[in-house]
Amino acid sequence: MITLTINGKEVKLEKSVTVLEAARSAGIKIPTLCYHEQLEKYGGCRLCLVEVEKMPRLQTACTLMAADGMVVRTETEQIAEVRRGILEFLLINHPLDCPYCDKAGECDLQDLVEKYGPAKGRFREKKRRVPESLEDPVIVRNMERCIMCTRCVRMCEGRQGASAIAVINRGGHSHIEPFSGGKFDCEYCGNCVSVCPVGAIMSRLHRHSYRPWQVKEQYETVCPYCGVGCTLIAQVRDDVIKRVIPKLGSAVNNGMLCSRGRFGYEFTGSKDRLSSPLIRKNGVLTEATWEEAIRYVADKFTQIKSSYGSTALAGIASLRCTNEDNYLFQKFMRAVLGTNNIDSAARTGFAGAQAFIENIFGQGATANIISGLSNADTIMVAGGDPTTVNPILGLQIRACSRRGGNVLSIGSYEGLRNFNPVKLLPARFSDTVLLEAIVTALKAVRGLNGSNRALEEKIADITVSSAEAEKRTGVSEKDLDGFVKLLSGAETFSMVIGKDIVQSSGSSYKLLLLSAINYLANGRIYLLSERANEQGSIDMGCLPDMLPGCRPVSMPEFRNKYESVWRAEIPELPGRNIFEIFEAAESGDIKALYVMGENPACNLPDSNRIASVLEKLDFLVVQDIFMTETAKHADVVLPSLAWAEKDGTYTNMERRIQRVRKAVQREGMSDWKITAEIAKNMGYDMSYSKAEDVFHEIARVSPLHRDLTYQDIENGENIYPYKGEPLRHMREEIAAVRSDTSAEEGRFYLGIERPLFHSGTLSTHAPAMLNIYPRPVVRLSARHAGTAGIKDGDIVRVTSGRGTLELPAVISNDSEMSSAMICNNFDGRNSFRLAGTVLDPVTKAPCLDQTEITIEKVKS
């Protein structure tokens, strides 16, 4: 116990902290500028100088560790004089442009000068002038306002790990500059914006559009983009989100955001938003009233159900809609339309992979705390760059490396490049052999302990020597042995699995091998998720074989319980999955499709074919916020409210249920409300006055969410399995199918780029994200481009057996020689148009690595 005296007040400390922290804990405020609780100590601004008895010099409270018996004074006349002096120094070169500066009103420097002075200036020379920089799409830099606290640099380097900016030059000529020159050209996370205490680095999005004190309301909510589910605060003026900021201390992201989360919010205010229901009349989508549209949909569903039976109807749920939306949607499909033909795009990877892993390790195996990842001593990454797919999770891997942990990767990931990854780079289609060799070697070191017999039986069968692996994968025995040595030495191990493995040939067998490695290294699995409520859609039962709470529909004891609450019969047989739905629609077995917040014509592989199948349907209802490629084929389009316009909950990839809060008012209905209205018109009573009522029902019916309330999840700290329980002892035999696909000389393949700056097609409606990443491109290796005579910026035609795309080429030295990368984020110009639909027989995920393409130059 340390006891010290600050301003005459006795302060007791459990452990040694700085005098500044000790003072704050006692409610004594010491002014600071360079100090930030998230950053390393710096001691540069000198504002926190305090008097300490028995110490001859003044001491900076932010760097001095509190010691027993210390007597500190923070607010004497001498100290006030010192602070006045420091502030005067800061002001001699600081422009007094507060009336014009967006920071005014929340500027630390302004507040301190207000408190301490100086009242007038004694500096007669010219101030330093640095022109404002608008080089960057989302950030504006005004370096003459910079006070050199270096919080931005310490954030960029020490927390974000981007190391994009630094202090350039020396002394009074110091300024913050990106290494790349004039432009930041960085990850655009904007975390530098968060920590800048003055108006030197600011967001361009709200430039000169409001004053901080004009923000009347702010709402704590969850990011709409990826499966990490960062807490963010939406600040609103006149029903427009003016700014999104992070929250210090929040459980998932603790004050950090990525570029999508911070700058991607403007899609809600897009002029492209759908506003009126549309009904196709004489082949043209025509505006209609809500009553008319709902009535029409209800009648058509009723009619098709009675003519063709329930199995002729199907629904596709949304990975972006709330749990409440998804719950009611599947309830509608089952209880009102009477079919289990419900699925979502989670089927394209996440759902099948999770089911596979849970079958081995039990339900909830992937529900692991993201912030805990940095505490691992060893992390293995396979199948995607976590820093682009789930950026805030990626930061945890960087933090692990910074703390001395080992980062191992199968494949090379740009976002981890500066974090000493130990990489194995197997030749195309040889990762299976490599993983087999790792399992073989690891098994020999760590042994089997008998705790998971089903898995151990599989592991026992795996034998590939390092020598054989070297021959077949190109990875040297030495590298492999080094990799396995690190794995076998791991005490706290975590594995991060991305889509590139989940959506590859033989993915179920690879997942088995990854599970085996994880088992042998006694680790945790993190399954990357690209959508905000992908996990939630699964947990809400938007699956053909599972009811809410992940209970199998085929088991009568569960089915009966739901039937009694829903007062309806649920079909016993599992329904069709999303791919089977489209097959059945193609063959005419499915006549009507109800799509909520999903765009299969973009998000399913072979999307040209999907679009043509949509045309074949008798009746297609699309509920969305934008006129998607899918909606263009609809018979009825129902505009719904977007994130930030409605209440509800999301479940993130660690299965944390968090509140999504309405921040702005917009006319229209939430998805669940629209669904409920259709149900009512079909004679099924769905009376909920608000999203919370729906959540009450979820908590009543789902054993996993038992008795959960909005109050319980208020702070986002309710961890899986909440108050309920996962389903145990439901294991089926582990089935996995090995793929023997092999690469052939001269063949060229499509790769799916998963950019940091886009998430699905949603972010392409956010102007800021488009400013950073404006259009789809084809990324080619310099070697391939050279042999094909393609130069950077040339328009090239990419052709596969499924379709063609004409896009500009971007030549990069990092790209793999045998593939071209195209992202799937631009509706209508998406890479899935080229991809085929070979599915893994077990996980049912598409094998996206098999798409052969040709590339030719169209014009320079």
């Binding site: 001691g43 540069g44 003044l58 010192v82 020379e125 202090v167 002394g171 009074g172």
Partner: protein
């Protein structure tokens, strides 16, 4: 006094290992390798050796802190970033007697159980870099460096790292930052380098001259060494005298030689028939002394009693033709240029002081300017991150303290009254 540090440097080949050995070089190393590390530290303690970089910190104490730290490896850094204006005392060792330094470093490395050494060399000493590298290679070839020195199973690796010309890198933590490849800026202390230094390992930073004392201490013993100089500050000291004296240059004299003696006895007095006006006794950061205050013993303990400091022992002598405003302005230009920019008072204060001095120099000073300078300097002193800012502010304070009328004349006459 026999020369210890600058021994033999008149020999044009003094930097060569054979010449050095002929004159008895590396005998101390052999002796030291037969001693226990703790014994060497004891000898240094008996010798009363103080760091020659400017602060005069007792070397044995610093060494004890470092050798008591359980972390390994330990690093020994030689601070050869001789950047204090007026200072050129290390240069003759580096260029003429490099093996003395190398021998001193190997002995120190053994005493500290440090197996790695770096010489952090001033960017503006390209010739010294060449000479040092050659000498290090000779030492490796002679098995005086490496992993089994003289077959005694003792390891010491040594390399030269050249700075990029920043004055602040003479500050030991900034030196460490720079050596690690970062921008040269001082670090927060504690932790001190002796516990967490370069690459987060225990690190001892000693000046060139300091380390060069080691061979003699081992050879003659700590007690004999302590008899040179003053009881508080024993040993030889290299003084470098520049400015208006008849014989400027480098002088190895006992610590505690009187300042007036250095100027008038050793350097032949003031050049020509001019009158002495002022002396800066230990490099530009040390307080200026007027001509009538030179009866002081040049050592770390006595100089503060006379209102100045020994600093690096760089004596800058100025005669009556020198304008004190101009000197002060020139000094502040230097400090403004060299301020690293980390802390507010130094970054902004040095520039502001320079600006005021500049306008006084240019005949645009106003009545309140002297008090304004004192106020600005007062807002810097004791508030900066490292001593650079304190040094800059104290230069202004001391020039005004001793030569205020000259500043007033400048402002009133709107021109220099000394040089016309």
């Amino acid at each position: 006094m026999e020369k210890i540090l600058l021994k033999n440097i008149e020999n044009p080949n003094s930097a060569d290992i054979n010449e050095y050995r002929k004159a008895g070089g590396y005998a101390s190393l052999e002796k030291a390798l037969g001693m226990e590390p703790q014994q060497i530290i004891e000898e240094v303690k008996k010798a009363g050796l103080r760091g020659r970089g400017g602060a005069g910190f007792p070397v044995a104490m610093k060494w004890t802190f470092a050798s008591g730290d359980p972390k390994f490896p330990k690093y020994l850094l030689c601070n050869a970033d001789e950047g204090e204006p007026g200072t050129f005392k290390d240069r003759p060792i580096l260029e003429k007697n490099p093996h003395l330094l190398i021998e001193g470093m190997v002995i120190s490395g053994h005493a500290l159980k440090a197996e790695y050494g770096y010489i952090y060399l001033r960017g503006e000493y390209p010739e010294a870099k060449h000479i040092l590298n050659k000498a290090i290679k000779q030492a490796y070839d002679a098995n005086l460096l490496g992993d089994n020195i003289l077959g005694k199973g003792i390891k010491f690796e040594l390399a030269v790292h050249q700075g990029a010309g920043a004055y602040i890198c003479g500050e030991e933590t900034a030196l460490i930052e720079s050596l690690e490849g970062d921008k040269g800026q001082p670090r927060i202390k504690p932790p001190f380098p002796v516990n967490v230094g370069v690459f987060s390992k225990p690190t001892i930073v000693n000046n060139v001259e300091t380390l060069s004392n080691l061979p003699y201490i081992i050879e003659a013993g700590g007690e004999a060494y302590a008899k040179i100089g003053t009881p508080d500050c024993p040993g030889p000291k290299i003084f470098c005298i520049s400015g208006h004296v008849e014989k400027p240059g480098v002088y190895e004299l006992p610590m505690g030689t009187m300042l007036c003696d250095i100027i008038f006895k050793h350097c032949g007095g003031i050049k020509g028939s001019k009158k002495l006006k002022a002396v800066i006794p230990g490099g530009i950061s040390t307080p200026v002394l007027p001509a009538d205050k030179l009866e002081c013993s040049m050592d770390f303990v006595n100089m503060p009693k006379h209102g100045s400091m020994l600093g690096s022992g760089a004596v800058i002598v100025m005669d009556e033709t020198v304008c004190m405003v101009k000197v002060c302005h020139r000094a502040l230009k230097f400090f403004e240029h060299e301020s690293c920019g980390k802390c507010t008072p130094c970054r902004e204060g040095t520039g502001w002081l320079r600006a005021i001095l500049e306008r006084i120099e240019n005949g645009k000073g106003t009545d309140g300017d002297i008090d304004l300078m004192l106020a600005v300097a007062g807002n810097m002193i004791g508030k900066t991150f490292c001593p650079l800012g304190d040094g800059a502010a104290s230069v202004v304070q001391n020039f005004i303290k001793h030569f205020r009328p000259e500043f007033e004349d400048h402002i009133r006459e709107k021109k220099c009254t000394v040089t016309g």
